[in-house]
């Protein structure tokens, strides 16, 4: 998520129009990430709102030479994860990957025949929270392993393993959907 240096400097100096520009350019993607993590649009609205309010309050500490957009993503992701943990509907920790597991996937890569935007998002939404989160941060926000590790408070190798497991589950879910779809086709 890129915010240009001039906009950051104007925002730091108290220009509310610069804040509006940042909101317009970043809010849709941040909302998308929150929805992918939380699967709850109302709660995602709250999370994005809170992220922007916190971002506004820390404006004087922003460094225009650093990636300010990444900070906004990190604030949003942390708030979404906190909301998820508070909700306690899903057991977050018991789904930790086994560190001894190989990072080579057994499932075939997703191709364009089964991996439409809708199909991928539907399948991702059905995954456990820790997998939805890592996919949203890696592919939705293009965060590096280090940045994801920082947000999730896990090690970089653990990010690689979690991402691998998330993709495996996503691939298998899409293959299963495809197989079910084929089974439902009328037979001639």
């Amino acid at each position: 998520m890129k915010i240009d240096r001039d906009t950051v400097e104007q925002f730091r100096a108290g220009d509310d129009e610069a804040f509006s520009r940042i909101f317009r350019s970043c809010a849709p993607a941040l909302f998308g990430t929150a929805v992918q993590i939380l699967r709850d649009r109302g709660l995602s609205e709250d999370v994005v709102q809170e992220a922007f309010v916190r971002f506004y309050r820390m404006r004087r500490q922003l460094d225009p030479d650093k990636c300010v957009g990444a900070l906004l993503v990190r604030v949003t992701a942390n708030l979404a994860i906190d909301a998820l943990r508070k909700r306690k509907r899903e057991n977050w920790e018991s789904l930790e990957p086994d560190p001894a597991e190989s990072i080579v996937s057994e499932a075939p890569p997703i191709d364009a025949r089964i991996g439409t935007v809708d199909a991928i998002n539907r399948a991702a939404a059905a995954l456990p929270a820790i997998y939805r989160t890592v996919l949203a941060l890696r592919y939705g926000q293009e965060m590096s392993y280090e940045e994801i590790a920082d947000v999730l408070k896990i090690s970089v190798p653990a990010v690689a393993l979690r991402l691998k497991r998330a993709k495996d589950q996503l691939r298998l879910a899409l293959v299963r959907t495809k197989v079910r779809g084929s089974d439902e086709l009328p037979r001639s």
Binding site: G14, D15, D16, E17, F19, S20, F23, A27, P28, A29, F31, G32, V35, Q36, R41, E45, V48, Q49, F52, V53, Y56, R57, S102, I103, V104, S105, P108, P109, I110, D111, A112, G115, T116, V117, I120, N121, A124, L135, A136, R138, Y139, G140, E142, S144, Y145, V156, A160, L163, K164, K167
Partner: protein, 174 residues
């Protein structure tokens, strides 16, 4: 590098998590091994599909509008309302402040000058205010002085907020 090692590193490479040397060795292998090259291309295509799907805009104008309104309410508008509220309060209170504030100040001077006698302080405060004063007046004057100090601390940021909002209004941004 063998094919197993190459397979282990392909996704790390696509995720930008592979070091320069390892990436170069992988490239050499991919150039020499057509089956690994084909797998790498499939993984690359998958990455693009995932990015496209996960970056698709799922927000609606209504949802973003609600978020925007609440964010502004808690930041820009909030600051503006604070400025207006302070302006109203200061118009009512500030004219009353000088007398009690002077009383409190003289009381504080007594304290600072080494006379730590409560009766002397009270006497100094009340004498400076009104002959018919007493404790209620002393308390009122102390409160007024606190208001004055808070007012000075508060009025500067709120004035800058109001000024900023006025500029925005003039520019048609709000």
């Amino acid at each position: 590098m063998n094919c197993q090692e190459a397979r282990e590193q392909m996704e790390l490479r696509l995720d930008g998590a592979l070091g320069t040397t390892a990436a170069r060795r992988l490239d050499e292998h991919l150039g020499a091994c057509s089956s690994c090259g084909a797998v790498y291309e499939l993984l690359k295509a998958e990455d693009e599909l995932l990015e496209k799907a996960m970056q698709a805009d799922v927000s609606s104008a209504a949802e973003l509008g609600r978020i925007n309104e609440l964010v502004r309410e808690r930041t820009v508008y909030g600051r503006f309302r604070f400025a207006v509220a302070w302006e109203t309060i200061s118009e009512m209170i500030l004219p009353l402040v000088p007398g009690p504030a002077l009383g409190t100040l003289s009381g504080l001077l007594v304290l600072v000058s080494g006379q730590f006698d409560g009766a002397a302080v009270r006497e100094a405060i009340t004498r400076s205010l009104s002959p018919a004063g007493g404790f209620p007046v002393a308390i009122a004057s102390a409160l007024a002085a606190v208001c004055l100090v808070l007012g000075v601390l508060m009025v500067l940021p709120s004035m800058s907020g109001a000024a900023s909002l006025n500029t925005q209004k003039e520019n048609g941004h709000v």
